[in-house]
Amino acid sequence: MTVSSVVVVGGGIAGVSTVAELRKNGYAGELTLVSVDPFPYDRPPLSKEYLAGGRDLDSIALQAPGWYAEQRISLIGGAVAVDVRADAGEVELADGRVLTADRIVLATGGRAIRPALGSPSHVLRDVADADRLRTQLVPRARLLIVGGGLIGAEVASTARGLGAEVMLVDPLSPPLAAAVGIEVATWLHALHADHGVETLTTTVETLLETPTGVAAQLKGEPDSREFDAVLLAVGLVPETALAEAAGLETSRGILVDAGQVTSHPAVLAVGDCARLRDHHRPEHWEAAQVDGARAAATILGVAPAPDTAPWWWSDRYGLHVEGVGEMRSPDAQHQTVVRGVVGEPPFAVFTLRGERVIGAVAVDDPNAVRAARRMIDRGVDVRASDLADPTQNLRSLLRR
């Protein structure tokens, strides 16, 4: 059946990528994008430049204002979908409008996890969250960040730049070891102390609102500590309520096949709300973008682009961190190769299985990660000694 109308619910990178890829690849039918926000915007700056006040909302738009009209995409901004009727191909909005389509794509994202700790606290997921948090990031304000992953670390960096006093707690020491390897994770975590952030390896048991702020009771401490604000940065849960109400199969995400199709053949799901059955659900920007491209290919009935190794980036204290693939601790099958010196940017660390790169992480050396990504995707054999040699051009290793 030729698809002549598509409704995409959700204006994050996954939803925008879906509509962009549909048009780019020749889809000429009706195309509607429903966004909770007035227009889709990019989220990575929310913990960095936007939070710091260096960029405004218009400057982080995912597409230029005129792009939707140029692409004949009906952008319905400021709208909330309240019901999806898969068999009928209908999406009902909160204002009563009913959209009909041959295919519905759910790009509903996720919401920040809010542990029940007992007091008002911040999370950081959308512009409104960032705007609220920003009002409290003033010089000498006392900020507690719960969670030392990518978002927690980025906000710690931004808050220090704004003059706030920051404490960061995480039960893992160091955080991110699974993503970047223990050596780099240890160094990255130590950067917090170098920049005046106190870090504690513990958890928060309770938060209690006080006349002057928030009293946080940390596990293992006799007395509570006082803060002006608390940010919970402990992960997200996929937004599956619409899908569940529609009778779609969900389990830690809306379950999809390799073409992003849910348990209903006319409904697809992309981005943070979706999970490929029997797979971990990636929560990175690029993974959501790739989902959108894959969904577009499915709708168009064409083969999707080949999968590539998962890639992510982050920034803290003026350093650019990137990772690709899988970072494994050295064992009988894996070895770690350092290019440069860990702690002296630029440097990169690779994980190899035999002569194949399976993962890499780099600080201020993004092209090392780009090279590694291509080595992984193309299955290029490399010598560890060549990777470790900074005089060796990584691009040339790809050509062998």
Binding site: E49, L62, W285, N367, R370, R395
Partner: protein, 120 residues
């Protein structure tokens, strides 16, 4: 240096580098003080050795495209992997959404001449 053409009035172009200065797949940035343009200009060398020129600053954020990864007719920004077509400057991949500006370059006797403001 043979001169500064501003918006491209110099018919012979500005000699900005030797071909040997730029390995295949890499680039160099030429200062706006030399090119007379608002932005610096990245001279980028494709896999087959062909030279291209684009405004240097990624339209997404502030990274230098001259430090990007040149491949398959595109340059990939070193920060967030936005992709731009080397010939046209058009965005080939998010997160950038605005095209960048291409400029004409010529290679004569192993020397690279840039024509700021002229389309390739």
């Amino acid at each position: 240096m043979t001169g500064n053409s501003g918006n491209g009035g110099n018919s012979s172009g500005i000699r900005v580098a030797s071909l040997d200065d730029i390995p295949e797949g890499e680039g160099i940035a030429i200062s706006s003080k030399i090119t007379g343009t608002e932005d610096d200009i990245a001279i980028l060398r494709d896999d087959d050795g062909t030279c291209w020129a684009l405004n240097d600053t990624c339209t997404h954020e502030t990274a230098s495209l001259a430090e990007g990864w040149v491949e398959d007719g595109d340059v990939e920004c070193p920060l967030h992997s936005s992709r731009f077509n080397l010939k046209t400057g058009k965005v080939d991949g998010l997160p950038a959404t605005r095209d960048t500006v291409p400029h004409r370059v010529e290679v004569r006797d192993g020397e690279i001449y840039l024509f700021p403001g002229e389309r390739p």
